[in-house]
């Protein structure tokens, strides 16, 4: 029997991976709870998952595709923006769900011990389910439009994982800050809204005037969306450095998120 030692928190807390893994059931049950609750008392249930990206892509194609006539590198506009929305909804869904998750479960955080990190992580389940359903429709759209992504599609899971890591890193930090400062609750939706337009979802990077392009290249989310879309549509990413930079950014953001979260984890119960 191993002896558990409790000491005051140090400056740098790395998570106890073993414990996290042992308690994975908590994340799974939280995730299950979220999914069950979301559809238990709804009339059309899972259709909501499809409706959101479809309507958004539809509106984008009318406004940006038809009215503004933005270029999409030769891909049908509707398909172009739908795939972009797939990536965006994944990021948006995870950040908006996970960042408020600790505060939403404050009764638990104040009264029961379990590795806190599992609370934001559990948001992954619902988000991935949404993504999975929307992805199936995306594949159908690819077939309907007769777009063949080619072998490049094999890289899609890599960008998916990178997107998740990037989003999770931001979520972990945001959820930990939210415990102390509830302002984060208001800042996050606003940032996400700005992000939707600042990131090339409804337009391609090539539509951005040269003079401003560096600004868009400064946004790692733009790299990830661009790469994700390129792999799904069989186009070439605008710059070669995007791929390694995106992987590096995802790893760094996740790591920083974990550090921020861990440095505050042990005071959650006293502050929440």
């Amino acid at each position: 029997m191993s002896r558990m030692v409790i000491t005051p928190p140090g400056r740098l807390n790395l998570p106890r991976w073993r414990e996290l893994w042992d308690a994975r059931e908590v994340a799974y049950r939280f995730g299950q709870r979220d999914v069950i609750l979301r559809y238990r008392q709804t009339a059309v249930g899972i259709v909501w998952v499809l409706l959101q990206p479809l309507v958004a892509a539809g509106i984008f194609s009318i406004v940006f595709g038809n009215l503004a006539g933005l270029p999409t590198d030769g891909v049908p506009y509707f398909l172009f923006s739908y795939i972009g929305m797939l990536a965006w909804n994944l990021f948006n869904g995870l950040v908006s769900r996970a960042s408020g998750s600790l505060v939403a479960n404050q009764a638990l955080v104040a009264k029961v011990f379990f590795p806190r990190m599992l609370v934001p992580i559990s948001s992954l389940f619902a988000v991935l389910l949404d993504f999975g359903v929307a992805l199936v429709l995306g594949v159908v759209l690819l077939v309907v439009y007769g777009v063949n992504p080619g072998w490049g599609v094999l890289l899609m899971p890599v960008w998916l994982v990178c997107l998740l890591m990037f989003a999770l890193g931001i979520s972990l930090a945001a959820s930990a800050w939210m415990v102390k400062y509830r302002d984060v609750t208001y800042v996050i939706p606003w940032l996400l809204q700005v992000g939707l337009y600042a990131t090339p979802i409804a337009y391609s990077l090539s539509a951005v005037p040269e003079a401003f392009r560096w600004l868009f290249y400064a946004n790692p989310l733009a790299w990830l969306v661009e790469l994700f879309r390129a792999s799904m549509l069989g186009t070439t990413p605008s710059e070669a450095w995007l791929a390694p930079a995106a992987v590096a950014a995802s790893v760094v953001v996740l790591f920083l998120g974990v550090l921020v979260f861990q440095s505050r984890e042990r005071e959650f119960a006293d502050l929440i």
Partner: protein
């Protein structure tokens, strides 16, 4: 050190909460904090330290059921929270000889929309059970709770009794080496309570360790094999249950001594009760209890205040709360008040009682615990004299009659 074979060994444990000095407001919004910092760039933030626990050492061997006893605010719950790792200690070191399971509050982690079955899994995993463990004990949990028929019904449709029984059952089947319990055995009907107590005793017999926090001395005596007495964050004594209970009872007098000095009492201190007297130090059970309270004037205090007077029994259980708002009595701080409180229509059980007096407006102005005490004579107000067993366990007595109806 014999730490290797003890279930819990605690050394030098302290928990300090930093409270920002009450004069300055504490920003809860980042913007507020930034604005404040910009306006007062060189201001040093002043903190007051509140020691919830101070330098606590103890060791508990396996197979012991330990009661943790102390008055409100003595640090009992903080100690449990640290041992269960909900919150972190400020200093000190704790070694645990196994996993700690906690029954801190029945039903936390239950979700009303989920079914009984789903909640067993959710709650079980939160309490630290692995899936295989839950699956293995599932039938036992269900049988113990007695809600078999409603397993697939959302728990929001459960009666409160069923809810509590199911929640307790999940926690009671934890297989952790150490089990921490906070007041939860007081749930459900008498039958379920006895069942739970028996279950907890079995846990200790299995060689596991139980930590139990409660105000109910009866359950502590029934369950625990030893006890720890905490007072104001310090460990005063650890030993047999009887010794500790005696100390606990005596502690009411020590509290009376320390709170007699007005400046040491909690509350803003805008007003301080100067004297609290009971008309008689000994009352009969049914007699009116008269308590006189003097509060000097303070012309700078604005707005009327109310008085809340608590009467507690020997075990610290609140018997009755006499809040002057309920009878529309408000007092003017600009005048000296001599208040006479009469508690009528309540039959006290024989024993010692203490009186806490609180002066309040928006917050608490003065909190004087154990301001006075009185004794109720062991003469029962009933026509027949019986031995104590006839009234044992009742908190108060009542005026009752039995009549035969029919022929």
């Amino acid at each position: 050190m014999g730490a290797a074979d003890s279930a819990i060994s605690v050394s030098g444990l302290s928990k300090v909460y930093r409270i920002r000095s009450s004069s300055k407001h504490r920003p809860t919004r980042a913007t507020e904090a930034i604005v404040h910092r910009l306006r007062h760039p060189f201001e040093k933030v002043e903190y007051e330290d509140f020691h919830a626990l101070e330098d606590v050492d103890f060791e508990i061997p396996f197979g012991e059921a330990v009661g943790i006893i102390g008055r409100n605010g003595a640090g009992k719950s903080t100690l449990l929270k640290i041992l269960t790792r909900i919150t972190a200690p400020t200093t000190g070191r704790i070694e645990l000889g196994g996993r700690v399971g906690s029954l801190l509050e029945v039903g936390t982690g239950f979700h009303p929309e989920l079914t009984g079955r789903e909640n067993i899994f959710l709650n079980g995993s939160l309490l630290g059970m692995r899936r295989a463990e839950i699956v293995r004990r599932f039938d036992e949990i269900v049988a113990f709770s007695g809600v078999e028929k409603f397993l697939d019904t959302p728990v929001k449709r459960y009666s409160s009794g069923m809810y509590v029984r199911l929640a307790f059952s999940v926690a009671a089947h934890l297989e952790t080496e150490i089990l921490a319990i906070d007041e939860v055995l007081a749930v459900g009907d008498a039958e379920f309570r006895n069942k739970s107590l028996a279950k907890m005793r079995d846990v200790a017999k299995d060689g596991r360790t139980v930590l139990y926090v409660s105000h109910q001395m009866a359950t502590v005596t029934a369950l625990c094999t030893s006890a720890i007495f905490l007072s104001a964050g310090r460990l005063v004594h650890s030993g047999t249950v009887d010794d500790v209970l005696q100390l606990y009872r005596d502690s009411f007098e020590t509290v009376a001594e320390t709170t007699a000095v007005a400046a040491r009492r909690p509350g803003t201190g805008e007003l301080r009760t100067s004297d609290v007297r009971v008309a008689d130090t000994v009352f009969g059970s049914t007699e009116d209890k008269v308590i006189e309270i003097d509060v000097p004037a303070n012309a700078e205090s604005i707005g009327s205040y109310f008085i809340s007077c608590h009467i507690n029994d020997d075990n610290g259980v609140l018997v009755t709360k006499c809040d002057s708002r309920l009878v529309e009595a408000w007092f003017d701080p600009e005048q000296e008040q001599r208040v006479r409180l009469t508690v009528a229509g309540l039959w006290f059980t024989p024993g010692r009682y203490t009186v806490d007096v609180f002066l309040c407006r928006m917050g608490i102005l003065d909190a004087w615990e154990a301001a006075a005490s009185f004794e109720v004579l062991p003469e029962l107000p009933y026509p027949e004299s019986m031995n104590d067993e006839a009234i044992q366990g009742s908190l108060v007595l009542s005026n009752f009659t039995y009549e035969r109806s029919g022929s």
